[in-house]
């Protein structure tokens, strides 16, 4: 099979970009989408043209590095998987495929298809942790965690921090990501003492980074490679509300695992 690619090319943040069209060489349906780009890039480089810059690392859907918008959909045509797990057998011979970067104010473009997602890290710095010093931990089994809570926390913890939720959202909101982080820690007994303070700090930082508001369109959940549920956003909103009601985070004590 062969495909035609329309790819966003942009030298850097300060220059303007445009779509360029490339014809792929002969492909194999068992190639991953990124392997297809590798092959196209080798062809470009051999001709002396600069290869298309794109982000990737693990190529198995776990590191959250790959980040393309394929035919208008972050992470491509399939539900519940990342770009790197998309295979060419999902396309037909002769297809034209449009490839763009994740676009959001809080994800400034670096080059071509690569954007900078450090704003996610800064949200985590604001409160994405449980305060415990190395060596200060009690025996692991001294804090039992009901299995349903542990499982639900794990559902949230699966988020790979890719930012597709932001890219899919017309408001470029990061609510699904932040909700996943807050819910993971907030569902564990260990996370209770800082639960509301954490929610407030992370949500405030999210706003500061320039992510948009959530109007619950659900497009984030639809593209999330880990199928993080919108329910976590409701959970986060509750925790944030409690934090506001309680006022000064310094006086906050722990609550129950909801």
């Amino acid at each position: 099979m062969k495909v035609t690619l329309k790819v966003w090319r942009q030298k850097n943040r300060n220059s303007s970009g445009s779509f360029k069209t490339y014809e792929s060489p002969e492909l194999n349906g068992n190639m991953s989408f990124l392997e297809m780009l590798d092959v196209v890039n080798e062809q470009l480089a051999t001709r002396g043209e600069e290869p298309i810059a794109f982000d990737h690392d693990c190529r198995e859907g776990i590191c959250g590095t790959c980040s393309l918008v394929i035919d208008g959909k972050p992470h491509g045509p399939h539900k519940g998987i990342a770009t790197c797990q998309t295979y060419m057998r999902s396309f037909k011979d002769g297809d034209e495929i449009v490839v763009e970067p994740f676009r959001a104010k809080a994800f400034p473009l670096i080059k071509d298809l690569v954007c900078d997602r450090k704003s996610f890290d800064r949200i985590q710095h604001a409160g994405g942790f449980i305060t415990v010093r190395t060596g200060a931990a009690p025996d692991a089994n001294s804090i039992p965690v009901p299995k349903p809570d542990a499982d639900l926390a794990m559902d949230a913890a699966q988020c790979i921090g890719c930012g597709a939720c932001v890219a899919a959202c017309k408001n470029a909101s990061a609510m699904l990501f932040v909700a996943a982080k807050i819910s993971h820690l907030g569902l564990m007994p260990q996370g209770q003492p800082e639960r509301y303070k954490r929610a407030k700090a992370m949500v405030d930082q999210m706003d500061e980074e320039g992510f948009g508001a959530c109007t619950v369109t659900g497009s984030c959940e639809a593209v999330c490679p880990k199928e993080i549920s919108l329910d976590f956003i409701a959970r986060m909103n509750r925790d944030y509300g409690v934090a506001l009601l309680r006022g000064d985070p310094k006086t906050i004590k722990g609550g129950g695992a909801g």
């Binding site: 590798d38 692991a140 790979i160």
Partner: protein
């Protein structure tokens, strides 16, 4: 010649670590903040070390080439992490974990290090649980365990096939807390390209900002490398594409010895290669071997048939046949070599003939499909995505792939290399797994090194350093190292060659797999050394690197890393050639058990199993750079002295 002094503390094995911690010099709390420590890497080892050192009060500067510390290759670990908690009351203990690890490593690891690892393992789980790592739980709320990677006890903790990511998120959260409170300064998209050595001590690094291309100098009172493994020297592996050896290799070129570079782990259960475009190999978790049965047809003629058409009696469940005690759970090196053997006999399956079946039909019959789905559903789905085959209906096809490197920079008991002030943690060092690593033990080692070992040992070195006299970045060594990096960058971009860096990487990978892969021999290794040497020369004559130095440039990044891989490949072949024995993952065809050996006759081993030569090779090889890539490196030896355990024949029958 370098001196490789292991600095193993004296005293009984089980007391060494406690004693050593007591006798190691401390730094008083008020002085700690005056010391500046550079940590490169934020995988399990680097993130845990950075967070803990900052908590202790040191000024920590952390560097990663990734866009975020949370993306280190540690995220990819699926299976689990070992710890001698004995929560299952099935007879586990620190001593058993120690012994299993020593034996698993085929008696080529340091006793004292391994014992410490087993001791510390229990603290790791406590630490991670307190951070909120969502480990799998039983209904009563306590932690659940698996038996993993050939262990006969259930000591593996896990988090839904994402253990690595969850542990890393734990360490990353500890790191974040310390970034937020100012204890750690974090540099991302920051690649270390050289080590700065001042008067024989590691005192800084040279870093390239991958976004802007800017090259900067950073000084510190000590430098810690936690930069991961080098399996991508084979091009195709289960590693993330970005994983590379550059930090370690550049340190090697500054005098740090490289320990046992030829010890690589080939994992038995990976999805086979499908074509020349292949960019990475995907691991199917080893836990599958708990319920899957490995087989190939007894007769070559049956290989083309559909598996369902091959009668039960015509199947060779070769692991069960050869290793009756461990069967399908035989350790990785053994399972991988057995797969190679049956494929070499022409009995491999799939298009390329390089594959064996991993069959779940018996498990589905016994447990029901829903139970199998509950246990492995995500893995079956992943397999289907990649191969377009449904493993509930037809057996998976698997083949061994490069997965882990036991070798790495040489370190002493304190995790310090032979260059004073340079510490190496996690997969980047050579220390704890001998010639073969057991499943679920790498995560344990990374976190042990970072949370517990380095924070206790580094003060011993720092106490002898005066932070007031820390060399500033305008001194000669810094200038020279920066120029070295600039020159290399210019050389790569200015080269008027015709071939892409990737084409060299592919070629190197093929050479390595052929000459220094699952089975090695003298003639082939010698050929490999020649061929890789020639490839190195061609690289510098014919590589073409596009783009600019002061911009995001992935070709340039890769070109530097591939140049280092080529040199490393040559060293690995030299090490494999020197080691005239077989041990763990290092199989020299000349040294294997034959039907006439007494061990074979006693039923301890099979003909074809690895044969160690303890009288001559019970040592760690520490290779020292000789000043130029085309000069033969110098071999230093650290003898392995076993006080507690007797080096014995490693039997899994």
């Amino acid at each position: 010649m370098a001196t490789l002094n292991s600095n193993i503390p004296s005293g009984p094995l089980a007391e060494k670590w406690e004693h050593h911690k007591f006798y190691t010099k401390l730094i008083n709390p008020a002085n700690k903040r005056k010391y500046k420590i550079i940590v490169v890497g934020a995988g399990l080892a680097g993130a845990s070390a950075s967070a803990t050192l900052a908590e202790l009060g040191y000024e920590v500067h952390n560097f990663v080439f990734h866009d975020s510390p949370r993306r280190a290759h540690s995220v990819a670990a699926q299976g689990g992490i070992n710890a001698a908690k004995n929560y299952q009351n099935d007879g586990d203990s620190v001593h058993r974990l120690f012994y299993d690890t020593i034996k698993g490593g085929d008696f080529r690891a340091r006793e004292a290090n391994v014992h410490r690892l087993a001791e510390v393992s229990v603290n790791i789980i406590d630490q991670c649980a307190a951070q909120g790592v969502p480990f799998a739980r039983e209904y009563g709320g306590v932690l659940d365990n698996l038996s993993f990677g050939g262990a006969q006890v259930s000591r593996t903790f896990y988090a839904r096939g994402q253990t690595g990511q969850q542990l890393l998120l734990g360490a990353y959260s500890a790191l974040n807390r310390n970034i937020a409170n100012g204890g750690v300064k974090s540099y991302t998209h920051a690649e270390m390209l050289d080590l700065v050595v001042v008067d024989g001590h590691a005192k800084g690094i040279i870093v390239r900002n991958l976004q802007t291309g800017e090259i900067t100098r950073h000084n510190g009172d000590a430098v810690v490398l936690a930069t991961g493994g080098y399996g991508n020297v084979y091009n195709l592996s289960t590693y993330a594409r970005g994983a590379n050896v550059t930090a370690g290799w550049r340190a090697y070129k500054r005098g740090a010895c490289f320990g046992n570079p030829c010890y690589t782990q080939i994992h038995p259960t990976c999805i086979p290669v499908s074509g020349d475009y292949q960019s990475k190999l995907t691991l199917m978790s080893e836990s599958l071997r708990n319920d899957g049965r490995v087989w190939v047809p007894k007769r070559k003629e049956d290989c083309g048939k559909k598996p369902a058409d091959i009668a039960e009696g015509d199947r060779d469940y070769y692991l069960e046949r050869m290793y009756s005690a461990f069967g399908n759970l035989a350790p990785r090196d053994i399972a991988s070599r057995a797969a190679k053997t049956v494929c070499d006999e022409g009995r491999g399956v799939g298009e390329t003939g390089l594959g064996v079946y991993l069959d779940f039909s018996a498990a589905i019959q016994r447990l029901g499909e829903s139970k199998v789905r509950e246990r492995y559903g995500n893995l079956f789905a992943m397999y289907q995505e990649i191969t377009n085959e449904n493993a509930y209906q037809t057996p998976m096809r698997i083949y061994p792939a490069v997965h882990y490197t036991m070798g790495g920079l040489w370190v002493d008991y304190n995790l310090m290399s032979n260059v004073p002030g340079l510490f190496v943690l996690g997969e980047a060092n050579f220390s704890d797994h001998g010639a073969n690593r057991l499943g679920a033990s790498a995560l344990m080692q990374g976190l042990s090194d970072g949370y517990f070992v380095l924070p206790a040992t580094i003060s011993g070195y720092l106490a002898g350093q005066n932070p007031g006299k820390r060399p500033t970045t305008d001194t000669g060594s810094f200038k020279e190292a920066e120029e070295n990096v600039q020159t290399l960058t210019k050389r790569m971009l200015g080269n008027k060659g015709k071939r892409t860096p990737n084409s060299f990487h592919k070629e190197l990978g093929k050479l390595m797999w052929e000459h220094c892969g699952m089975a090695r021999n003298e003639a082939s290794l010698q050929k490999g050394i020649k061929a890789i040497g020639a490839l190195r020369e061609e690289y510098w004559n014919n590589v073409s690197v596009l783009g600019e130095s002061n911009d995001w440039n992935q070709s340039l990044e890769r070109a530097g890393r591939i140049a280092d891989f080529i040199e490393l490949g040559e060293l690995m072949c030299r090490d494999a050639l020197m080691r005239e024995e077989s041990c763990g993952g290092h199989f020299r065809e000349e040294y294997q058990y034959t039907p006439d050996d007494p061990e074979t006759k006693q039923g301890l081993v099979n003909p074809g199993d690895v044969k160690r030569r303890d009288d001559q090779f019970a040592f760690v090889a520490g290779w020292e750079y000789a000043g130029a890539a085309d000069k033969a490196p110098i071999l230093n030896k650290e003898p392995l002295v076993y006080e507690e355990v007797k080096m014995s024949t490693r039997s899994y029958k």
